[in-house]
Amino acid sequence: MSTQPPHTTTTDAPLPPRDTLLRMFLQMSQTRCFEETAARLFTQGKVHGTAHFCIGEEAAGIGVTAALEPQDLIYATHRGHGQSIGKGMEIRRMMAEFLGKATGVCKGKGGCMHIADLSAGNLGANGIVGAQLPIAVGAALSTRLQKLDRVVICFFGDGASNEGTFHEALNLASIWKLPVVFLCVNNQYGMSMHVGDHVNVPDLSVRAAAYGIPGWSADGNDAVAVWQAARRAREIARTQGPCLLVANTYRIMGHSKSDNNAYRDKAVIEQWKARCPIKRLRAWLLERGLASEQELDALSARARHDIDDALAFAEASPDPEPAAAFTDVYA
């Protein structure tokens, strides 16, 4: 499995507008800060349960969401803080959900593995690996039957591509030519299993060929390249039918908070830390004169402030009422 994929930022395709680029930088910084804060809360014993962090994978989420239109829909993964922030979810209510509070976006009943905000077009993260793929096909079918101008983006991981649901969903979407982008965040691990051990193809995007749909990969640590690829994928989905885009990146953190990374080489983790997508975007913006040091520092500071604010909001929020356990079981 190639670790340095071919598709990096290209001059053949349009670049994101400057305000989009700055928003991407802000949201990637917010995501990083959100997760570092969440990790600290675990260490302090303030949160029960688990969380899956996308530290180092921010470009693969936010490069995509930044390329969407507001009416587009996403299905996030369990590692979906970046995807959710990128789709415009309120960070305060995400943090409150993480802390299980009544003000959480799912009223404290789903937690961060099930973050969803239908009003923001995030149809939800899933705890069942691969479950979102056929569901996304349904949302794309509904888009078609209701004649709406929107695209469904279905995020999933490299590991999820081995569930039967992946294959059934790609086939169904392909024969019905539905407006859905299957967006694989290949962070090279399904829990402890390296992608080179869990699939027998050199590049996950070749799986698209089995369904007769376009498939290609992008450098998932290059936010601009991801944006360009996602833009193209969106256009294909809107005008022709499904496609498979693979954003190649790396999972820096353990799978979840209880993972000590015993199954992999720590030196490789360090190499990938050095390829930080946030630093990379920052350098690119500076190099091209699209932003100044001061502007970017201000955005980083704003990200920090937004997360502190979200945490203060969440901590001050009440727990759900006991009766909340019994509501929403049925409509």
Partner: protein
Amino acid sequence: MREITYAQAIREALAEELRRDPAVFFMGEDVAAYGGAFGVSAGLLAEFGPERIRDTPISEAAIMGAAVGAAMTGLRPVVEIMFSDFVSCCFDGLCNQAAKTRYMFGGQTAMPLVVRAPAGSGTGAAGQHSQSPEAWICNVPGLKVVAPSTPHDAKGLLKAAIRDDNPVVFLEQKLLYRTKGEVPEADYTVPLGQAACRRDGRHLTVLTYGRMVARCLEAAERLAAEDGAEAEVLDLRTLVPLDREAVIASARKTGRVLIVHEACQTGGFGGELAAVVAGSDAFFYLDAPVRRLCGADTPIPYNPTLEASVVPTTDSIAAALRDLLR
């Protein structure tokens, strides 16, 4: 006797059966180098190697199907489904294939496979990682269902399950993994289908299993200390096959029955237990209606306070016992 944890007991059972019978092998997601999501299989890879301790991709349907095929052709697979909630992802392999093949083929094949799957709430993992799915499975003829409550039983029942010629779903109790108990070093099995009386009593009977056993025992002690009433606590250990004789005998002896399980009430295994009591001659000895105390009919919520509130607690069990005595 030495004490080991519930997780260690399961690991020992696996290791001993792997050593004893070359037909046994173990596969599942992240079970080899990672040692399983709950660390249960840590160290097995080093002893038995990657041929017999197999990491699989995230493909539950393929794991279960492959277990069926291997079991039909001379092996005795043990598979781990990382959370029991995910048996839904391999329901066909389990319920239509593993369970029914022998019957439909007129007994031509046995189906010696074990599905290990951690069950239960209390870990803050919300609706899709916290269920107690035994009722889904108990409704399928051909499957055996086990839910051990102690390290001793976990080891003995798993060894019996691996030696059994039928598909056995072995529901491990996540929150018991770190609990300790006495476990003999010599080879032993606990036969499937035998309940264990954990506390002798004459005023009422508690029918329970899995992680609720400890809570029922605590509640029973409280009742004895505070109300002077003696509750008999029967740990079913195996749900299918069920030790009906033990259930009926205890109900007949005490005349009052409380059924406690963590799984949701509606369509739950408790209904079956109530029917076993009511449909037997124990019915004529009952002094009160049979009562169930089960998990609420809701998914498991994320917030820890809510999560704890939807399953029976020592308090709610004690209250139900008192109610039953009235």
